[in-house]
Structure formats: structure tokens, C-alpha cells
């Protein structure tokens, strides 16, 4: 909008000035509504929901005899960062759409290294019905190394994960529960994860209706 020369504009007569003032107020308010919606959309695009969590204390994972089949959970219990409009509950993601999930676990051997036994970190994400809290889908991804003479090894991987939209629209929808695990094959020694040695992150990428989420 360019008004370079206000003198070119018609000036309303005395009888019209009240209606013109009302028109300008209405115009300003409608313009602000449109501008604010655009601004909010850009803000949402700039700052998508995001969560980073870590472990606050040392975690010891027992010898492989007890954990080889299922692994042990790694309790990431501290919010490093959580966006204000992001996940509302720790390790739960409530927004439908595509998420980028990632994890990191720094696993060390407490006792004797057992060369060429495995170490596996994995991230498990399940889709759950919000209302009845029932799991409907599961996706697990992992990263594996074999033990060598260096005791500390970093296990890390990323993957995309989809939370389906609510069906029908307006229903309670779904959430994803995400958790970290570690299993290993050293039957003679525990693994340990120092405080801050495990991280879990989730970054929301997109859904099919951004405006609805603003």
C-alpha cells in the first residue's frame, strides 16, 4: 500500500465523516486479523515443536545374562528443552504428523571388556489412542557396535516417525510414547551410562494442515 500524496485523496464531507471513521476502524481491525494470522503461521513455521531430554543420574545396566533378550530401559527423565507448544508430557508427543526422532547413548563397560560382544541402543516409539490408551502401532530403530578395547562407545541413530491424524476429526486422536533402551552381550560386566550420557530428541516436521495447529 503506497500513499505518496495524501492531498490526492478525496476528503469526506461533514455528513460522511462518522461513517468514514467507522469504515477505517473496521478496515484496520480486519487487516490486523489477516496480518496476525500470517504472522502466527510464520512463527509456527519458524519454531516447530521440539523436545530434548537427558538422564539426570548414572544408569547401570546389568550383565547380559539378565538383559540380553529385552534390553533395559534408559530413563531420560530431565527436560533439556521443550517448546511451550510442544509435547505436553515427558516422552509423549501429541501433535499429529511427521516427527524426526533421534537418540544418543554413551555406554561404558564397568568391568572387563569382552571384545566383539555387542552393544545396542534403540529407540522405541508407539502410537497410542489418547482416549483408551491402547497401542496401535510400534516402530523401533537401533544402532549396534561391538565391544573393543575402548570402553566408551557412542550409540546414535535418527529416524522419521508418523503420528496419524485424529479420525474422525475432532476426536481425541493419538499420541506417541517414546523410550530409549540399551542391551549388550557382555555376560561378565555391567554397562554404565554417566549422567547426561543419554539423550532423546523429537522434532516436529509437518502435518497436512498447519493453519489448524496455529
Amino acid at each position: 500500500m503506497r500513499f505518496t500524496d495524501p492531498s490526492l485523496l478525496p476528503v469526506p464531507g461533514d455528513q460522511e465523516t462518522g461513517a468514514t471513521a467507522l469504515f477505517l476502524q473496521s478496515f484496520a481491525e480486519q487487516a490486523e486479523e489477516v496480518l496476525a494470522a500470517q504472522y502466527a503461521t510464520m512463527a509456527a513455521a519458524l519454531n516447530s515443536p521440539l523436545m530434548i531430554m537427558t538422564n539426570s543420574g548414572v544408569i547401570n545396566i546389568g550383565s547380559s545374562v539378565s538383559v540380553i533378550s529385552t534390553g533395559s530401559s534408559v530413563n531420560v527423565n530431565t527436560d533439556t528443552y521443550r517448546s511451550s507448544n510442544g509435547p505436553a508430557t515427558q516422552r509423549r508427543l501429541y501433535r499429529t504428523g511427521l516427527w524426526q526422532l533421534g537418540f544418543y547413548i554413551n555406554a561404558s563397560c564397568v568391568g572387563t571388556v569382552n571384545v566383539d560382544t555387542y552393544r545396542r541402543g534403540y529407540l522405541r516409539a508407539t502410537v497410542n489412542d489418547v482416549l483408551i490408551n491402547t497401542q496401535t502401532n510400534e516402530q523401533t530403530f537401533s544402532y549396534t557396535t561391538t565391544e573393543k578395547n575402548n570402553t566408551a562407545q557412542g550409540l546414535s541413530a535418527e529416524a522419521l516417525f508418523f503420528i496419524p491424524p485424529e479420525t474422525p476429526p475432532g476426536s481425541d486422536g493419538y499420541y506417541a510414547a517414546v523410550s530409549l533402551g540399551l542391551s549388550h552381550g557382555n555376560s561378565g560386566s555391567q554397562m554404565t551410562i554417566a549422567a547426561g550420557g543419554a539423550k532423546l530428541w523429537a522434532f516436529w516436521l509437518s502435518d497436512d494442515d498447519l493453519i489448524r495447529e496455529v
Binding site: 500500500m1 503506497r2 500513499f3 495524501p6 492531498s7 485523496l9 476528503v11 469526506p12 461533514d14 465523516t17 462518522g18 468514514t20 471513521a21 467507522l22 477505517l24 476502524q25 478496515f27 484496520a28 481491525e29 487487516a31 490486523e32 496480518l35 496476525a36 500470517q38 504472522y39 510464520m42 512463527a43 513455521a45 519458524l46 519454531n47 516447530s48 521440539l50 530434548i52 533439556t80 528443552y81 517448546s83 533421534g102 544418543y104 554413551n106 544402532y143 557396535t145 561391538t146 573393543k148 578395547n149 575402548n150 562407545q153 557412542g154 550409540l155 546414535s156 535418527e158 539423550k199 530428541w201 522434532f203
Partner: protein
């Protein structure tokens, strides 16, 4: 005189106030200013701050089990000046949350005798995340990458380090490393 809207302060006359051309001009100017704000945001959405730098000069003689900071020598994309050739090992990041991706190519001069290698992402010399990869000792050096989200509440220096374990006469060499960073959220 007059009033204004609550968010973008678009000015309009009071009812009963005599309307003159200035009211039209003020409203148009205010809408212009608001559109400038939205344009700036749109530009950020389309062009989130990012970085791509590379290490093209080999770092040689690295002993088993020692951690070596990567020295960068080439800026491919550095519009925000996060990397400075005068301090080639560090990337100065404003506060924010970043997606970091580092890839070591090791395409030439492969070295046998490496059991493991590890890439680390450090913030102010503290390891944030690391990734270890096993390498068959007879296979030579292997291309290797690590991706992670990094959080910095205040401006911090990011460094990438590499380590290896095994037996290589004269030490191992790291080669052809790329570092890409993209801002996910500012704080």
C-alpha cells in the same frame, strides 16, 4: 488523536473525529510496516541460518585413543559468519537448537589397522553426543557420519573431534570431513 489496533498498532480515527487524508495515509503506512515484519519472518522461514564447511587438508599422525579436534579450511556456505578462518577449529553459534551433521569421507589413502573410530560433537569443549563405528581392521578407513540435535542456551563454540583405536604405524589420518549445521529454533 485516534485509536489503534492491539497487535500491529494500525491507526484509525475515533468515531466523531473529523476524518482527513492523514488518517488514510497513517493506516496505509502502518499496514506497510506490518507487512515488512511478516516479510522478514517469511525470509527466515525460507532461509533458516545454516552453515557448511569442510576439512580438505589431511590431519596425520593421530595416535590410537587420542581425540583430535578437526581443523576446517574451507567455507562452502557461511552466510552468518559462524565460522572464521582465523579460528579454524571452532564454529561460534548463537543461542538456539541446531541440527548438526558431520561426515568423514576417508576416500583416499585408506589405512588398515583401525578397529573403531568415533566422531564427537563438543560445545565449549564438553562432549554433547558421540558416535562410534566398528571398522574391520583389514578394510581400511571407512566413510562415517554422525547426526545430532544440539542445544545451546547461550552463544557457544562448537567443535568436532575424531578418535580411533587400533594399530597403524605412524598413526592414522583423518580426511575430507564435512560439517553442516542448520538452525531449528532460536531461543
Amino acid at each position: 488523536m485516534g485509536s489503534q489496533t492491539p497487535i500491529f498498532s494500525l491507526r484509525y480515527p475515533f468515531q466523531g473525529e473529523t476524518v482527513d487524508p492523514t488518517h488514510f495515509k497513517n493506516l496505509a503506512d502502518d499496514i506497510d510496516a506490518a507487512l515488512d515484519l511478516i516479510d522478514a519472518r517469511s525470509l527466515l522461514v525460507l532461509n533458516k541460518p545454516a552453515l557448511k564447511i569442510a576439512q580438505n587438508t589431511d590431519q596425520t599422525g593421530i595416535t590410537s585413543g587420542s581425540t583430535t579436534i578437526i581443523t576446517w579450511d574451507t567455507a562452502t556456505y557461511n552466510p552468518n559468519g559462524w565460522w572464521n578462518a582465523g579460528a579454524p577449529t571452532l564454529v561460534a553459534l548463537p543461542a538456539g537448537i541446531y541440527l548438526v551433521s558431520v561426515a568423514m569421507s576417508n576416500l583416499v589413502g585408506t589405512t588398515t589397522g583401525i578397529d573403531d573410530q568415533m566422531l564427537e560433537i563438543q560445545i565449549n569443549s564438553v562432549v554433547q553426543t558421540r558416535k562410534t563405528a566398528n571398522v574391520a581392521p583389514t578394510a581400511g578407513s571407512a566413510p562415517f557420519s554422525h547426526h545430532s540435535i544440539i542445544y545451546t542456551a547461550t552463544p557457544q563454540n562448537l567443535r568436532i573431534s575424531w578418535a580411533w583405536w587400533g594399530s597403524v604405524a605412524g598413526g592414522a589420518t583423518n580426511q575430507a570431513t564435512d560439517l553442516s549445521i542448520r538452525l531449528l529454533r532460536d531461543l
